[in-house]
Symmetry: C2
Subunit: 164 residues, 2 copies
């Protein structure tokens, strides 16, 4: 396959490592981050052959879950969240309709039992395939002096809402 930049790149085959069990059944049920429902818990159930890989993750407060937007069948170059009026490039938004359809959520770990990781800060729907889980690391994943382009005006509104 030629990728348009003169370099031959092979396709990559991903095998989901597990699945999300979530009380959110349809996309409309899912809260928009950062407005999570703190009472809602979901769990990631891993293929049992990966249970050992969860060892010591329970020492972390948060984890990054990479997952597959399995309901998205389209790829768009532009899009906009429902709260925004202008369209932006697909790599400047978090839309599911992106090349490769991979999503990222940072979840709060509640507990781990064998091959099950229970968490809150849920924004995934039920039956979402899981691709990877990584520890959230304070001094590499928290950045300083962050600016957020077209999102800034919404973040300011969100902060007003949160501290009301």
């Amino acid at each position: 396959m030629n990728n348009g930049i003169g370099i031959v790149m092979n396709k990559i085959i991903i095998e989901p490592i597990g699945i999300i069990h979530s009380p959110y059944i349809t996309i409309k049920d899912v809260p928009k981050p950062p407005f999570f429902d703190e009472d809602i818990e979901a769990f990631a159930e891993l293929n049992e052959k990966y249970s050992d890989g969860l060892k010591d993750l329970d020492g972390f407060s948060h984890a990054i879950i990479l997952f597959y937007f399995h309901l998205s069948k389209e790829i768009h170059m532009y899009g906009k969240p429902s709260f925004e009026k202008d369209e932006h490039g697909i790599f400047a938004i978090r839309s599911p309709h992106r090349p490769n359809h991979i999503g990222l959520s940072i979840i709060k770990i509640n507990r781990i039992e064998k091959n099950k990781l229970f968490f809150c800060n849920v924004d995934m729907i039920n039956n979402t395939p899981i691709i990877d889980i990584k520890p959230y690391i304070r001094d590499t994943d928290i950045k300083e002096n962050v600016s957020c382009g077209w999102l800034e005006k919404h973040i300011k509104k969100r902060n007003n809402f949160k501290f009301k």
Copy 2:
């Protein structure tokens, strides 16, 4: 394919969206986050068909790059970074030798020119295939009250080092 949890899950085919051009040629050249060399710049060159997707990303200070650890041919359930003496589950570390071999870096955006995203905070080697780019969003990606299990002792050492 049965994934061991009683649910049939299909494999997912990923097509890299571009490639990293980095001055780091071998894994040994790459700095360990968060100790980046601030003078080093790399760029992500996307397939030209995805150029439009970068629109408005330059308003953000940081982006998340998902990439493929193309040199890793092994999957381990345990591992440890070179600075740690004990082994931990693969999902509690950031090792390349993980199921699906997907890596995540949060980079600092310098500028965007057509299909090229120039950045610093580089920890990827040259020719790394890129899977996705997402905006880094202050109020969803920066978490509060973060604890980091086995890594805490190293983070405290790093902070001492940084503020020396």
